[in-house]
């Protein structure tokens, strides 16, 4: 499967989806006006990768601030992963953040509440 590479801007994160490794990474702030447009290619990519159902998918996050439309888009991605998990596919998420930035940790915890697959939240000193 092709990779997806969306470069970072001041208001949107670096997004990289690696079809060979089965990883999706997102880093940085996410508060674009057009979150739905920005994330649609990633949602399509994750949908196709999980539909192929051949390899595990790992979501690696180092997101900082998210506006509410980015929160919605990320929830949609996690819901796709949750569905796949319930069908027996191997999926996992890991969210690393700076420990001083408590709000990021709290947001990650809230996402995790709705996921039954492995979801590590890793505060960094």
């Amino acid at each position: 499967m092709d990779n997806l590479d969306i470069p970072q801007t001041s208001a949107s994160p670096a997004i990289f989806a690696d079809g060979t490794a089965g990883t999706v990474t997102m880093k940085g702030d996410s508060y674009p006006e057009n979150s739905f447009e920005l994330f649609q290619p990633l949602i399509d990519w994750v949908t196709a990768f999980l539909k192929a159902g051949q390899r595990p998918l790992k979501l690696e996050l180092e997101l900082l601030y998210l506006n509410t439309s980015s929160i919605r888009a990320l929830m949609d991605i996690l819901d796709l992963m949750e569905d796949a998990h319930r069908k027996g596919l191997q999926v996992a998420a890991r969210w690393a953040y700076e420990a001083a930035n408590e709000r990021v940790g709290q947001l990650a915890e809230e996402f995790k509440e709705d996921c039954t697959f492995p979801f590590d939240i890793v505060p960094k000193a």
Partner: protein, 182 residues
């Protein structure tokens, strides 16, 4: 030299800003670039004041939700596109940060918003969290491009219920303003 009485008295305006402890304000047609630039300045300014990352994040977040709501609203209503928005970040007597903004709306939309703010004011922290999670899973095709989460998110971050007002302007228009104390 004496000034004509009609001249804009910037000093007097500045006095008002100082008295109201307004640290940052904008009044004019708002664009995506402006929202970003002012937001970046706001963050830097607060970091310079040695505010905690959580405080910076909360104020920035409410500022972004409020301004992006106004942008989305005007984009969907070409007849209001040339209206200006007013945005203020200030501190109250207790030193709490206050984010306020106002814009011209169709009266019916304004009334619906006032109702929504009143509804949210009835909810406690757990109720707001539940409302947020319910809205988070609304089907996309019922959303018209907006997640519909902004007001709930602001209410969750606020230290007190959101305050708003609607001032009739005639011709089915009104000025809606929203104030969030953090």
């Amino acid at each position: 030299m004496a000034q004509p009485e009609t001249a804009l008295d910037i000093f007097a305006l500045r006095e008002i800003f100082n008295r109201e402890r307004i640290m940052l304000c904008f009044n004019g047609p708002i664009t995506a670039t402006l929202i970003e630039e002012i937001g970046a300045a706001l963050r830097k300014h607060m970091e310079g004041l040695q505010e905690s990352p959580s405080a910076v994040s909360d104020v920035f977040s409410v500022y972004i939700e409020m301004t992006q709501n106004i942008r989305r609203y005007t984009q969907n209503r070409p007849d209001l596109a040339r209206e200006t928005a007013s945005v203020f970040v200030s501190r109250n007597e207790e030193g709490r940060y206050v984010v306020s903004a106002g814009n011209v709306v169709e009266t019916g939309d304004g009334e619906a918003l006032v109702g929504r703010v009143a509804q949210l004011a009835q909810l406690d922290k757990d109720g707001l969290k539940a409302a947020f999670k319910t809205q988070l899973r609304q089907p996309r095709d019922e959303l018209a491009g907006s997640a519909g989460l902004g007001l709930i998110d602001m209410a969750r971050k606020a230290a007190a219920p959101l305050e708003c007002s609607l001032r009739p302007l005639g011709d089915q228009r009104a000025f809606f303003s929203l104030r969030v104390v953090l």
